[in-house]
Subunit: 319 residues, 2 copies
């Protein structure tokens, strides 16, 4: 089945919309390119938080409460780590460990990250394509008042408390998009590119930092639409607003439009932000208003349908 | 505290006596050198079944039913492996994974196996010394009717079903005893060397295959006593009897005496085998009769005290 919809996603927030998209379009026509800037080595295991969140969510085996990790998870591994005084700031559930152990073993045996994820998606019956942005290591590093911090150190261990000054994607200049993604972007078959309401700075920018991806999205011939991760001047989840403030950016849907300016054709913003429509239109970006807060599975499907429809309208007009 | 008692042990059977020994002598005076011929890589993890059985048993956190693995273990990791069709013939519990993940990470980071086990023993409050026979890889391979089989493939996956023809300890000739063990064996402080009722061919011979260990035990000045793993012509547990038969050896305490001839000064056999006393004595091996089947924690302590006493008697006489 030809891929016609390409979504860009970070972890939990992006996975919600990706889940909706699997119900809004034929699942096999959807590919999700996922941020791997958050990947890290923990106890020698290769951990890929965003990829796994996508996999678990699309397989329907995710933890519905946290949004990350497995359903009906147990935590015996963590308790045993505690017994010996090992680091427990990063929580790896017992079921989740299976994916991490298998991945680490596969990578050490010469399998690529994209091959491994495709195999796991198949085994868990996921019809959509879950594609890491690159098989090469790109690592998000937050320059803070305390010095440079690895992403998980900043995000999980320190709960985003240090003031961010800038964000780097180490290794990006030497990385290449995964071949499957390259093919999807250049095949001329895409009907829409959808930027999920993930953190633009921490989750989407790493994807766009991989040489070739941003350009290919511009040339792919399909409308590029984003869903704002900001409503009424605050982020839907996570530290987006805090980071924007620290980087000297006023947190608003307009700032999101400005950030994606030159890449996106349309921005879906919340009806509460209707007053920003004119400002965003001034960037040459089409605006659609909708309720963009996803509280339920139904919300995810509804929002996904709205995005697809919005892209369809732009596909007939803008391009 | 100076080590005065050195025990040689495989897994479950040996650990029972080692547990008893920690109650029969000051725990800090006991060192247990443990078979690592069963170690293997599974999903990229360095698994050391016998070492872990000793550690868990002496820490009092072992599974009292199986004798191996952790207390109150959970199996979510294994269930997740099943979900994706990964191999499940080797059971790694969720708590047990912590030790295996930490060990694999430590070894890859340049820590030796003996350093890692000493650190874990300390963290779990074990006063006795648990020492791998070597920090180098020695791997038990069973030559069978089906060809050579790695130990865990033979022992766990195939449940010892293939007929054994011979046993190899690959890597042994290039291995050296762990430095701490070397010091214990040559310090002249030992009061007794105790060979636990482990499988002589699969659990004790790998230890003795490491160049220098057998000789050092002969020269250490302490009596060497073994507890027979065989009672009334059958093994107390595991495949000892089956393997002896396949190797053309009649399974009896006499065969155990013959096997250890030249190494041991005394053999503790079951009162049911009293009729074999004369045959064993003919090898120049002192015999002591006792109930050697350990059913309860009390049995382990009683047997341990008997062994220590036996060695004490031999220490005054034989040497």
């Amino acid at each position: 089945m030809t891929v016609r919809y390409l979504a860009l996603s970070g972890g939990v927030g992006g996975a919600k919309l990706a889940f909706g998209l699997t119900h809004a379009v034929p699942a096999g026509e959807l590919a999700v390119v996922v941020n791997t800037g958050d990947d890290f080595e923990h106890f020698g295991l290769h951990v890929s938080p965003d990829l796994d969140t996508l996999l678990y969510t699309l397989a329907g085996i995710n933890n519905p409460t946290t949004g990350w990790g497995r359903d009906a998870e147990t935590w015996s591994f963590m308790r045993a780590l505690e017994e010996v005084g090992a680091a427990t700031w990063f929580r790896l559930g017992d079921k989740d460990l299976a994916l991490n152990v298998l991945r680490t073993h596969a990578l050490r045996s010469g399998t690529t990250l994209s091959e491994f994820m495709a195999d796991m998606a198949k085994r868990w019956g996921v019809a959509s394509h879950i594609i890491p942005m690159s098989d090469e290591a790109v690592r998000t590093v937050i320059e803070t008042e305390l010095g440079p911090l690895d992403f998980q150190d900043y995000f999980v261990r320190r709960q985003c408390e240090p003031v961010a000054q800038s964000i780097q994607f180490r290794g990006a200049s030497d990385a290449a998009p995964v071949a499957e993604l390259q093919e999807i972007m250049t095949a001329g078959s895409l009907a829409a590119v959808i930027i999920c309401p993930s953190n633009p700075y921490l989750s989407i920018d790493p994807i766009l930092s991989v040489p070739g991806i941003r350009d290919a999205l511009g040339w792919c011939g399909a409308p590029v639409v984003a869903v704002s991760p900001v409503v009424s001047g605050d982020s839907l989840k996570g530290p987006t607003a805090k980071i924007m403030n620290e980087l000297g950016i006023v947190c608003s849907a307009t700032a999101i439009a400005q950030h994606y300016h030159g890449l996106i054709d349309g921005l879906l913003i919340d009806t509460d932000d209707a007053s920003l429509e004119a400002d965003i239109s001034d960037f040459g970006i089409a605006v659609k208003l909708s309720d963009i807060v996803m509280r339920s599975a139904e919300d995810r499907c509804t929002l996904a349908k709205t995005v697809v429809q919005f892209a369809g309208e732009l596909g007939c007009g803008v391009k």
